[in-house]
Symmetry: C2
Subunit: 147 residues, 2 copies
DNA sequence: CCGTATCCCAGCCGATACTG
DNA sequence: CAGTATCGGCTGGGATACGG
């Protein structure tokens, strides 16, 4: 991974006017850092569930969509803990009890996730329509090739 | 994948006050739709590069961080096209010439990407510090176990 | 130039079994 | 309950070669 220059311009902005500029190319502006977290299958759901409060391991597992495996939940919360997004508290009782909660940093991420979710919900019809159109065209092209 | 209920509350909101609610659990609120796009290694970079204007295939490939392979650029761009985020225009010249540009939908995503990038840049020091602290603790614990 | 087709490896992730 | 350990399938994605 490496880069020279990267920039985003909005439609409204003057052409070539950078909205995002990367001055530290060697780590890809750190964007990849966040995206990697968002990219892995479960992190977002953990953040979403923890956004509403403190949860124990099993309870967290039970709430997550589609049933995350023990293994993946462990890995996911560990990564989130390592990144300072989640706080892990072990109560030395028997049986053991471990509680997870978002840190301040973690809570600030929930706002981004909300933005993402809003966009997603707002534009889902558009995306669905685009896919149908694309798939329709593809099927038609295939039929044309056979004909 | 399936779910019963999912909600996000912000720290400021009253406890249990849902900021995000999922009424259509069967498709995970559509959030996964967006996340899957963001999650795959290259989509974001393609969107970022196209945000500043129309680009041909080879030029796009040349600009992207770390040198995306032909194969992956093709796949990425096709997915984005299918989702209606990118418009693909083939000029039937010889040699062939194909131009890529963002659609309106695609441009609206750049705003989200910018938000993500801003958050990422703003909190990178925090994350880096958290990782150092975590790794330090881990190393110490290991030393303690050996001692 | 712009792809598509094929091969192949590395890693993710689920299932399962075992500890403190 | 809350993990760790191990195995195995699946998929993402790079390298390469070829076609229009």
């Amino acid at each position: 991974m490496s880069a020279g220059h990267t920039a985003i311009t909005t439609p409204g902005a003057a052409e070539g006017e950078p909205v995002i500029s990367c001055e530290t190319p060697q780590d890809e502006c750190g964007v990849r850092d966040v995206l990697d977290r968002l990219g892995d299958k479960w992190s977002v759901y953990v953040v979403v569930e923890l956004a509403s409060g403190v949860l124990r391991f099993k309870e967290l597992q039970r709430r997550i969509h589609g049933g995350i495996s023990q293994r993946m939940l462990t890995l996911t919360v560990r990564r989130l803990e390592r990144d300072g997004l989640v706080k892990r508290t072990v109560h030395p009782t028997v049986p053991p009890q471990v509680e997870y909660e978002l840190t301040e940093l973690g809570h600030s991420l929930t706002h981004l996730v909300k933005t993402l979710a809003d966009w997603s919900i707002a534009h889902r019809p558009d995306i669905a329509a685009a896919r149908r159109a694309y798939d329709g065209r593809a099927a038609q092209a295939e039929a044309g090739a056979t004909r």
